[in-house]
Symmetry: C2
Subunit: 166 residues, 2 copies
């Protein structure tokens, strides 16, 4: 099973891809989609969607995971972010993937054991977990963490279903 984690943004969108095989999580790739800051917002959405389609076509994930958002004080940036998330959800659906959303806190807690962990903490653990020397793109580490967390959750669900059916 291929899981693609996405950290959407209207300028930089991070992504991380893992494969779950025989209960083990294996790192496939991670990276970022950069939009041209000089381009008008609608054009950036086209750039994002087209680039994300390439990611979908390359890795063919069965599951796409996006951060669940709690609206803070900055409604303006949440509104902009909404556009990027819509594009990701649409292309993920077109590519045949199921879309899952998790709160950052749950992901951090699941990956590091601490819901308030720093980005650096998350990266350090991801490196060990996925046997990576380095995570070249800082923006992609949240995406990678989401993909891993989703792998845990699916495993947990599978174990619980097995227990129930005993």
């Amino acid at each position: 099973m291929i899981i693609l984690g996405v950290d959407p943004g209207s300028r930089i969108t991070g992504f991380g891809v893992v494969r779950v095989h025989n209960g083990k999580i294996e790192h496939i790739n991670h990276g970022v989609i950069l939009m041209d800051a000089d381009d008008a917002f609608p054009l950036r959405m086209k750039e994002l969607g087209s680039a994300f389609r390439e990611v979908m076509e390359k890795y063919k994930p069965q599951q796409v995971v996006i951060e669940k958002i709690f609206l803070g004080k900055n409604a303006d940036s949440a509104f902009k972010l909404g556009h990027a998330r819509g594009v990701i959800m649409y292309e993920a659906g077109l590519g045949g993937a199921e879309v899952q959303e998790y709160a950052t806190r749950s992901v951090k807690k699941g990956v590091t054991g601490n819901g308030g962990a720093s980005k650096e903490d998350v990266q350090a653990i991801l490196k060990v977990m996925l046997s990576l020397k380095t995570i070249s793109r800082i923006d992609a580490s949240d995406a990678l963490a989401m993909a891993c967390y989703h792998a845990f959750e699916m495993k947990k669900k599978a174990i619980m279903q097995r227990a129930v059916s005993l």
Copy 2:
């Protein structure tokens, strides 16, 4: 020139299509894209994008017009709306159209002469302007008004450019 006005929403998205020919605005069609309220939000974004792609492919507009949003108190609905707008912008761009945004107030003022006009006022004037007996879908009339307003604006710009180049 074909202009497509869009009134995006995460449950109902209205659209209106006009053709500008020899300085006259001609009504082509209007309608709504309905999403299944029982479906999860990400799935609705897929439904919206796929249906909107069909609209783009059917009418092949050179210009797509969307309402410009000013964030009010309800950040939550603005956030949801952002998703729908992102999908529209992306597919509009993929279809080769230029995307334009106008504030509702400007559109109402341009079409009826009054920025505070009611939906009914706008509809009444649209019917006369486009020689329509009825606008079957109430949700599409704002979209149709945007398309018409954009036609006015483009005409105005063309006249001004001609005046400048005299």
